[in-house]
Amino acid sequence: MQIEVRMMMSRMWRVGLLSGLTLAAAPAHAFIAYVSNEKSNTVSVIDTESWTVTKTIKVGQRPRGIDFTRDGKFVMVAVGDDDTIQMIDAKTQSVVDSLPSGPDPELFAQDAAGKILYVANENDNTVTVIDLEKRARLGDIQVGVEPEGMTISPDGKTLINTSETTNMAHFIDTSSRQIVANVLVDARPRFAEFKHDASELWVSSEIGGTVSVIDPGKHEVIGKVNFEIPGLRKEAIQPVGIGMTKDDKTAFVALGPANRVAVVDTASRKVTKYLLVGQRVWHMAFTPDEKYLLTTNGVSNDVSVIDVAAQKVIKTIQVGELPWGITIAP
């Protein structure tokens, strides 16, 4: 079987060589995606050329937030019920180390240099600051009830944390590590994402059913994205993950139990299309060439592959139980 695949691939390679033009126009980069499976206590490794799971890595209990280190050498995965963040060596694809994250880590963000990690600890209303090189804890920042969403402004000066029961986006100055502003959003803010040009911060509210668009300079909500799907009750629309294209023109929003990803035109803040994916879609990641967007569908235990340009779901890949987070090698 494996031989067959290899033969097929080498044949495809030869075809590619023969038609050199095609090769240049559509370079067949293969990427590697890592998916945390909350219930299985595993991380599934997906090859984006064959669209298959190539390895399943055993990790700690309740893996959720997952991200590559900036140098691409490690995958960090928050294993909440073990109160730590584990480091997976991207070469050997096995757990090699862990970070002193504080209790019940869920999501985290790192600075541009990849030196400082900020971790949301749901159980004690804090954001923990970790030195990634020394793997040491630098301190804590007190935030609202049940911190979850984490992101850093493109200039690296502001850390955003959302707190699910306080219903705020907290703006934290990364140099002083103090909260400089709190912006009230709709109920249960789960995820925060900046536009690449830093002009807007988008925050999803799972129970509120909206995405708040915040002016990061004025610390004000300047607009909201609303969702409406015919035939679906409003309560089922629960926005969580947000993916913004590099040109900032299009945002993809995962709508949880609505089983759809909304395609949003960022200029008008209107939904242009709903893409049907797997069940209870939460998080997502683009391939670095931005050709594909991969989403984690918790209840159907799979990952949907969206062709970004065509705005179409082209594939479904079975992973472990309750897939939660996803990251793709840079």
Binding site: I141, V145, E146, E164, T165, T166, M168, Q178, E235
Partner: protein, 393 residues
Amino acid sequence: MIRWLVGLIGLGLAATSALAADPVMIGVGYLGVAGARSTLSLVEQPAENDGVAGARLAIEDNNTTGKFLNQRFALEERRIKEGEDVVQAATDLAARNGFVIADLPADALLKVADALRERGTLLFNAGAIDERLREADCRANVIHTAPTRAMLADALGQYLVWKQWKRWLLVVGSHDEDKLFADALRRTATRFGAKIVQERSFEDKGGARRTDSGVTQIQRQMPVFTQQAPAYDVLVAADESEVFAAYLPYRTWDPRPVAGSAGLVARSWDAAQDQWGAIQMQNRFIKLNSRRMSALDMQAWTAVRMLGEATSRTNSGDVKKVTDFIKGPDFSVAAFKGTKLTLRDWNLQLRQPILLVDGRMVVSVSPQEGFLHQVSELDTLGYDRPESKCKLK
């Protein structure tokens, strides 16, 4: 280095609060009855601080949020002893608190509501499940976070019907509350197409709930009590008074599951609920109170969280402003039940999913799939707008 940094963060916080104006104080009263009721199961015996412990956690949650808004919540608890005047106690509590969470029997609650009406105090009914408080006896100054008997019965009934257990043997206790629960179950059966094949009543002849060798007798009595029943799928017990229902599982003459007041039970909350982020809430509760969280705790928590939600959205502690916002169309609250909770504007009852639990696990959550409604599927539980007899005043 680490100490220096932590110190710096601490110093920063201190400086901010020193500069800030005096916080807006929001007083919340908690009015309950002294002494806990007795249950058949020792593990279900409510704690002395049942209910108020949930309110305390919500006060902490609100104060964490309040730090960022310069709002400060405080809780004042008052327990009525037998023979004490509830209106006097409520008036006293309302003198210092604009909001009062009540865990009182229906009659006492109505007296308090009427006594506090002129004052403008907003009451939350966290304990009483009586239908009449949301129907003929509804009050414009009482918001209900406790579900009603009809909501609980419908939640259970939807599941039993979904399971195709449509033939019910109904066993009813001899106290008033038992009969009210039986009424609700009969209504549910009619609504959802279940059939009560027979009704039996279990007379409370008195006697202790704790005995040294009671189990021997119970094992003989329960099979005899349930024998010669017509064919049925599930025994549904209405025993809010805790006289017999907990004795029924595994002891029925025919091998049948038990539901209602024992076996599969409908509740607003359970210590086993861990979905939709609830685990964080359960952990916070255990950390604060050194015990697990009950349905009453949750109903009180939700009431105080509704206040926190309203004070943060209105950026105000003003009783009138907060009350108007809670009763208004834009209000909703998140309470770890997978969907936003809103108020039925015709009787101020909180819409909520209901858990079906067996004492160890959450078996299901109602409304069940397929029970549809034109406004909210949550309104398939309990009395709906067209049926309501409530005129808010």
